[in-house]
């Protein structure tokens, strides 16, 4: 999987039938459950080994400008593979992550699900939008919305996340951090 493949996900394939749609939806919901309940190691185990997890920066660019807003060579917000996600999870599991104690409460609400066939029989193009709400301590509060363009791969009887492009909508993140996977 690579970033160029993710940039090319434009919802032009043939929509999948109801059986595949329903099955993949269960996996998408399962993933959201893990992310919302701090079950990050379970989530990490479910990821494909060649995962590309990419959240580019957003920038305000004039329409007439020919250089693309999003490019694989720019500094991103996240650009992870499975190893770097495991590295990040070591922080959470260290027991010394003071700022996560008491823990953040978060909900990722996932909607606008669309699923398409790709030119690979075992890979599916999955589009969603999400609302990520976080509440911390007494009044800390943050809501972010974004769009996800995924590749989910059928492996045996499972569907596993192999690629994800996350398009947050804020060019200036109106929040102090992204202590979260989306």
């Amino acid at each position: 999987m690579n970033k160029e493949q993710l940039l090319a996900l434009n919802a032009i394939g043939k929509p999948v039938g109801i059986d595949v749609f329903f099955t993949i939806q269960q996996y998408v919901n399962q993933e959201a459950y893990w992310l919302n309940h701090e079950k990050l190691n379970e989530w990490c185990d479910s990821l494909e080994d060649d995962l590309v997890y990419w959240a580019p920066l957003r920038e305000n660019i004039l329409r007439r400008n020919r250089t693309p807003e999003i490019s694989p060579s720019k500094v991103p917000l996240f650009e992870e593979n499975k190893d770097s996600i495991i590295m990040r999870l070591r922080r959470n599991d260290s027991g010394m992550c003071w700022t996560e104690d008491p823990p953040t409460r978060q909900i990722t609400a996932v909607s606008n699900l669309e699923i398409f066939h790709t030119d690979k029989v075992d890979e599916f193009e999955v589009h969603t939008v999400f609302t990520l709400y976080r509440s911390r301590f007494e009044r800390d509060d943050s809501t972010l919305m974004g769009r996800r363009k995924d590749i989910w791969r059928k492996v045996g009887n499972d569907y596993r996340l192999a690629g994800r492009l996350i398009l947050l909508q804020q060019s200036t993140l109106l929040t102090k951090n992204l202590n979260v996977f989306m």
């Binding site: 920066l57 500094v75 590295m87 700022t99 109106l174």
Partner: protein
Amino acid sequence: MSMNIGSLIDHENGVIDRRIFSDADIYQQELKQIFSRCWNFVAHESQIKSFGDFITTYIGEDAVIVTRAKDNSINVMLNSCPHRGNKVCFAGEGKIRSFVCNYHGWAFGLDGKLNGMPENQLYDKTEGFNKSDWGLHKARVEVYKGLVFATFDEEAPSLGDYLGDFRWYMDAILDVDDKGTEFIPGTTRSVVKCNWKYPADNFVGDIYHALWTHLGAAESTLSASGGIQVSNENSYQSSVNGHGWEFSLANNFGNAATMGDKDIVKYLRSREDEITKRLGSVRAKMIGSVASAAIFPNFAFLPGYLTFRTFLPKGPMETELHSWTLVPSEASDEIKDKWRLGAMRTFSPGGILEMDDGENWEHATLGNSGYVTRHQKLCYAMDPTKGESIPIDLPGIVTKGQLNDANQRLFFKRYAEFMDAKSWADIPLAKKQF
């Protein structure tokens, strides 16, 4: 009426009045006394390489455009139309020939000059109107080794005098070879609900927090090598004109190693001999060691990670953080890409280290909403090496041991000097010796 800030800051004993971190009147005084006066970092030359390139940013709360004009000059001007005041550019970066205000269509060149407007004849027939009087208000601009600074104060000294001997230290990153440096494309912007001085004083001299704040994050990349190594053996704090660098000379690549990428450490090691020839053995250790640095008032960077950032004030209790990754231009694309990822995974909103910092600064700020709380003092007293001599020749006010509040005390001393000065004539500049 402006408040006397010197009375709120006892820099000798390290006792600081908390009101400077929350008071609305003091904040307004800062916009005038500090941000409209100082040389503020606005861009790296690599962001505006050729004719028509521009970026937008802020000096204090003043929106500015930074452009490269046809004559190759760099221009910094207010992003505000002199006709009715609307912003003339809403893009963060790009390439353009002129800025046309959305409101009435007044058009400005890359040099800020008013070039024209719709229905020109209305002004041609207006007695006393001269287009040359109504360009975008411009700042003075100077560049130091790729870094572009601007000031709105006609009386400010040169950038060279403003930075003074701090340039000797800056060269440890900016002048390690003939090819110079560049920013990797992409500006990361985020908002922290803290006073801008918390991040500034953190970068100018607070390595102490790393021993506790970042313990968990350090497990991610450093657990195999024994975690964060900081001590006052063979480490220093240096301060010039309020700018500061706290650094180790013991562990050459301590910061770089925290990114968890061996190839960056290998690259820095491969450069060491040549940098030593160019800058001497002390500065050859400073590009990657355990260190942090800040240029007064709100521009900071971290050796090793090579993250560069500004803390833009957005009210007494809010700061907008803009950050970039700087790389040596001579490095291979592969190494630059490793820095792009390494800095992002540590020092960006989702970075394992930066995530911890914002939380601390927000709640340090918020507490001052309480009347009693904000009338308490803060302790900047740490001074464990008082009177110890410095065994090497270093410019500026040098303190032995990087675990020390020395640079932060001097930052606030400088802060008070600016806040209470009537003009630049009242603001002392350290004598240049290097």
